[in-house]
Symmetry: none
Subunit: 400 residues, 2 copies
Amino acid sequence: MDWEKISTELSTDTPSKIILLVMDGLGGLPHNGKTALEAALTPHLDNLAAKSACGLSEPVFMGITPGSGPAHLSLFGYDPLKHTLGRGILEALGLGVEVGKNDMVARGNFATHKENMITDRRAGRIPTSENVQLCEKINAFLESREEPRIKVYPGKEHRFVVKFSGENLCDALSDADPQKENKPRAYSQPLDDEAQKTAQVVNSFLDDLTDFLKDSTPANTALLRGFSKHPSLPSMQDLYKLRPVALANYPMYKGLAKLIGMAIVDAGPEIEDLFDALDDIYSDYNFFYIHVKKPDAAGEDGNYDAKKAAIEETDTYIPRLMGKNSDVLVVTSDHSTPSSLKSHSWHPNPFMLHGPTAMPDAVARFSERTCSQGYLGRFQAIYAMPLMLAHAGKLKKYGA
Amino acid sequence: MDWEKISTELSTDTPSKIILLVMDGLGGLPHNGKTALEAALTPHLDNLAAKSACGLSEPVFMGITPGSGPAHLSLFGYDPLKHTLGRGILEALGLGVEVGKNDMVARGNFATHKENMITDRRAGRIPTSENVQLCEKINAFLESREEPRIKVYPGKEHRFVVKFSGENLCDALSDADPQKENKPRAYSQPLDDEAQKTAQVVNSFLDDLTDFLKDSTPANTALLRGFSKHPSLPSMQDLYKLRPVALANYPMYKGLAKLIGMAIVDAGPEIEDLFDALDDIYSDYNFFYIHVKKPDAAGEDGNYDAKKAAIEETDTYIPRLMGKNSDVLVVTSDHSTPSSLKSHSWHPNPFMLHGPTAMPDAVARFSERTCSQGYLGRFQAIYAMPLMLAHAGKLKKYGA
């Protein structure tokens, strides 16, 4: 099915409002018989579930553990098997680096070489503070260069992002990384003819950088991976005729939302800040993506109790969401993050949809297992968007 | 999956019989906590459900509200995203106009122009009786014309259908409709080279008609929309090796069935007439499509009580269906029509399949919400046909 084509034809601009609350990494696995969501005291989520149509959504398809990119794309109705976001772009978004139409980014590692042989791919995991200082010096050095302009952005420890800005850059490039230690420094190879010139730019930058760092220890060279240009995704305005806005604390989710045309609200760092911001801008938009990171962060840390607490904290804000009386209110997740796995997983997401045209079912507790008994059944997350638009009265009839 | 190719390879001609009862627009939304189907007293449907495998079927995909065309096509195993039926063809079928391989049809509005400016796109919604008289006069005038032959068919109020019959007609034509009033009369534009000649035919017909109607008020011209030729659909005989028949009261459903090769039985106007007709022809066919319009009509009218009554009336005939002891008996719908929306909706259809190889589940009441708990789960309606054929022992094994 070509949902992008169909949505462009069927969607209409209406004032009706849709709120989508994403509790990142919500789903989990039982610990002493209960998942963190099952163990959490969630009177407000449960009250909402009792009035909602519930189900389980598959981010990609059964068995596939998604990264944050595909998990979010599918929630917004973008086929995650068709649209891929390069690692470079996600890393850049995560650091809050602006990526424009003429930019190309890549992930970098500071590394150590000895007579051109890579002896440490992570330069002894230098402290982040050292990374920050190195990047400052490198940027000063790079300022004198002509087009394309190049800038580096420090991440944690040995990690950084490099951005090339100029005309006709092409990201069809192999990684400039020998993958293993005790191999020679690697250059990026063009993967098609168009990328020849960009490969030269990248490789001369690597040589210049290595030369510039010759007296630095242990970080005296760099590896580059995941070259990616700005992905040309159709916007939610074009596809759905929405006025969408993202309320998120973390750069990556803001960046991802921006890629598909959402306005970005700079809220404070706490969950409460998101809901305060919602109050402020509620009359300005008609699609509200609210991203709560805490359950995922706790799951990644393997901290079941912290995850339960993050869910309980979020629960206290549900009455404020319900108070908006939006036409559609969905609470779900992008992917599961069981604390027992300390990572994303392939398990589907609890999903509930509330609104005047939703069919309430017998599910009166919001959890992984109760939602599996809901009216919506088990469905691919890419259908969440058609479903929300339909329930908001924003989709015309298909065919006569 | 290419079901058309697979069905052609796997289907076999057997005497086993399949009955498909379509209760049009059956699904709804709760009113005082119950849908019309939930509120209706349906002892026979419930008895059948208790012995059947139940589920919910999606006409197109989640969130998509189908027109009658795509909703029915999917029930008969035709991908509604691949096969589209033009508005003209559906309007023609609805008026009982025969559309053959060399015919092209369009929807018409009688309209009013003043010095070539359209002043009323509906000619003041002239009474149907006036429309009938106008069409008679126009057809008499048109009889003298050479190929392609042109004939008009009156609909309700200002609406009519026009049929062009001749060789090499092409329906790649824009609407001959200015869309808004106080704009000049519009001509049809060819959308590709092949349609050049047909556009001339259509536009000279419009000029001739406008000239012929010059002394008529208020209907002194016409607008034409939705040009469509006979769609070339593979037949159910070719795909499934069935001998199929349609039992329906309404022209549109008979016409649609005819497009895919079904025989048509002219039954009387009541629900009972359909079941009487079934008795008469039961030995002649092995696939019986029975179409009950009433629940949809009541839903479109926003009449919850009438919808409930239509469901209860249909329920009384279920024992006659069960008495046939067909190999497969399916009761479902084409799409939902909640009376609260007064229109088709995107909600899935209750579905039950009865027969010796069906897996009875715990569903003992036929409704939207109980069916969501059934053995068949929530599935796309295009799978109804493979399922019916399989349960009737008409599909060979796929692969060795």
